[in-house]
Symmetry: C2
Subunit: 395 residues, 2 copies
């Protein structure tokens, strides 16, 4: 074969982080076959789906087996009822997003990666530490990258204060993965104002918004005036409703988002109708149930369970005098590695001496070095046992 390949791939590191973790964990298990390893590592949920979601999806599967209930290709943009339910959800946050501005997806990751197809020669602004997909997708689509380091000195909260006023494709994730920090309304308004002044577009990753409690912190960027002119929001039912295996999410591209007179909404609609055929009907019916009053109530119990896990982990860290971020409105705790250990050093220390797995902060960008992520998505007994084991450690 003599075909020119996409050179963007050669700028990527290997998918190093989780494969390196798996390799070290496997080596440990091999040497210590009797130790039960507890994972506070991966950001995957563990609680079963809400009963009303299960029942809706079971019924949807059964309908597909009947002549009257069979459904083939749907609207590529997603079931209208589901988009209307999401539109109402935005109303409840004080944001006006029409059902026609919402595109149902098979999850946030696909859209966060594919969003670069909208753009030509642009610079992606990546606020590190963060979810590695933004930078990887930018490299694959051969975009320039500007890293904005947001380390401990800024409490891991990105700010545009020092940025040159150039147009960027800005990635913001709040509540943040991995740091668990949340942009408040003032901080988010600064970003919206910066985007409007500089001609930038914001890609707002709201995948963890369900972990925000109380009414003060913004759950959507559209709670900020003017965001509809400069921001695309990507959201997901993965963490909100345990859909990591079911696969359903959505992306909002407001009709007011325009550049040089062209509508980003029209471009995204064209992209999706050409290269996507809609999310699974069964998953969409499950999503509709998850967004019903009953679904919200049932899922709130799961969120509360994870947040109690986060509280227990936070209490432990505080008790040991270990500084950490997050854990209050996010399922992640982002801790400073004790005794000056680096991220991987602390990883090895925890694994070897307590059989507990977490995620080294350095895997989320250079600004993450010296920090470490705990996820609170485990079952309660595992959280408690991890705390007990770590309690016996020198930290």
């Amino acid at each position: 074969m003599n075909i020119k390949l996409n050179r963007g791939f050669s700028n990527l590191g290997s998918a190093y982080l989780f494969s390196e973790i798996a390799a070290r964990v496997n080596a440990f298990k091999h040497e210590n076959p009797t130790v039960k390893v507890i994972s506070l590592g991966i950001g995957d949920v563990t609680l079963p789906l809400a009963p009303c979601v299960v029942s809706a999806m079971r019924n949807a599967a059964e309908r597909l087996g009947t002549r009257e209930g069979f459904v083939g290709y749907g609207d590529t943009q997603g079931l209208l009822e589901l988009r209307e339910a999401i539109s109402e959800r935005y109303s409840s946050l004080g944001a006006r997003i029409g059902a026609d501005e919402i595109f149902i997806s098979d999850g946030a990751k696909s859209d966060l990666g594919n969003i670069f197809e909208l753009f030509g020669d642009v610079t992606a602004l990546i606020c590190e530490p963060t979810y590695p997909v933004y930078a990887d997708a930018a490299l694959m689509s051969r975009k320039r990258i500007k890293i904005l380091p947001c380390g401990a000195e800024s409490s891991f909260l990105p700010s545009p204060d020092e940025l040159e006023r150039e147009p960027y494709v800005i990635f913001l994730c709040s509540p943040n993965n991995p740091t668990g920090t949340v942009l408040d309304k003032n901080s988010l308004k600064k970003w919206v104002d910066f985007a409007l002044f500089s001609g930038s577009v914001i890609i707002f990753d709201a995948a963890y918004e369900s972990f925000i409690s109380g009414g003060e912190l913004p759950r959507s960027i559209y709670e900020i005036d003017g965001a509809e002119n400069c921001a695309i929001e990507v959201c997901s039912l993965s963490k909100m409703a345990g859909f990591t295996g079911v696969r359903c999410g959505w992306t909002v591209v407001p009709r007011a988002c325009k550049s040089g007179g062209a509508s980003l909404h029209s471009l995204w609609a064209r992209r999706q109708s050409t290269k996507f055929n809609g999310a699974s009907y069964i998953s969409q019916i499950g999503a509709l149930a998850a967004l019903s009053d009953e679904g919200k109530r049932q899922n709130a119990e799961n969120i509360a369970y994870y947040m109690e896990n986060a509280r227990l982990l936070g209490e432990f860290l505080e008790g040991r005098g270990i500084e950490y971020f997050g854990g209050a409105h996010a399922p992640y705790l982002w801790l400073k590695c004790p005794r000056g250990m680096d991220s991987w050093g602390f990883f090895d220390h925890l694994l070897k001496n307590a059989g507990v797995v977490g995620t080294p902060g350095a895997g989320f960008g250079a600004s993450g070095e010296g920090f470490f992520r705990f996820s609170s998505f485990a079952h309660r007994e595992d959280i408690l046992e991890a705390i007990e084991r770590m309690g016996k450690l020198r930290l």
Copy 2:
């Protein structure tokens, strides 16, 4: 916003074909509210899912509601059992494809569009008339396009005989949408040989392979020696098992596919792990059931039903002396518009005088002008009524 947009979009036509059809049908319905319009237009299945698929998906949904059975993120490449079942399916065709060379997708359309991300500066070879996604996706990713017209003079079967020996990204769809024609082993071997000589890669769209009967015609490009070095195959359960709404398919990228020493398999694995999070667990469990012996038996009944529809339509066309292609190993019949009508003229004639909707061939590229597509995916009584109404027409 002052962000450079992807100029590839400006080279696209609007998604004209099916929206124009819908507009004309709606106008007709508005003027003729009592006429039941029969659609032989869209390529969507209508029969309910096979019972064993429904039961597998219902059980999968229920398992997700239990602590023991809950499943979150899976392998991005897909469930191993499903990939093994597909690998065995290739074995039964005499092709050796390992489970690790198979990537489960949410359907063929996504992968056919996204496949361009593997490539740099290349020319896509599009054999028209064909499924519009290949050319649209090529334009979106700013690739050059070379159209190979494959009209009536070549019986709508593409051949590389007259092609310059340059490296192309060659799209082949067999059985073809819209023409229903099928490449036999000799014709397909010519393409594989051409690809090997010219350094090209073939993207083989096998979405309609289930409609091939008998053992002579190839259902997979990997039935041809050497294809594993130059071909990617994209397949789907949409037509095979009625999964147009459920969403599940697969793409084979053989490990032997290399260009300039780089492995296309590694690149696609990296692409998928970065920008995809796996197909829905429930859909994958449904796919596994569809590929079981019981599933194959139940789905064969549906395929036979559609093919009997095709036979009835073909019998009608023959009776009226109308030349057509396809309909024997494909759910599509591709007919020459009678009395020298052009595609849209015949569309209007059929709609206004018989209330029957088909698809104008011109919508699949210039070589489709003067031809027309019937789909056999309707319910039997609609096929019979359409034939009865058309029987009264001057054709």
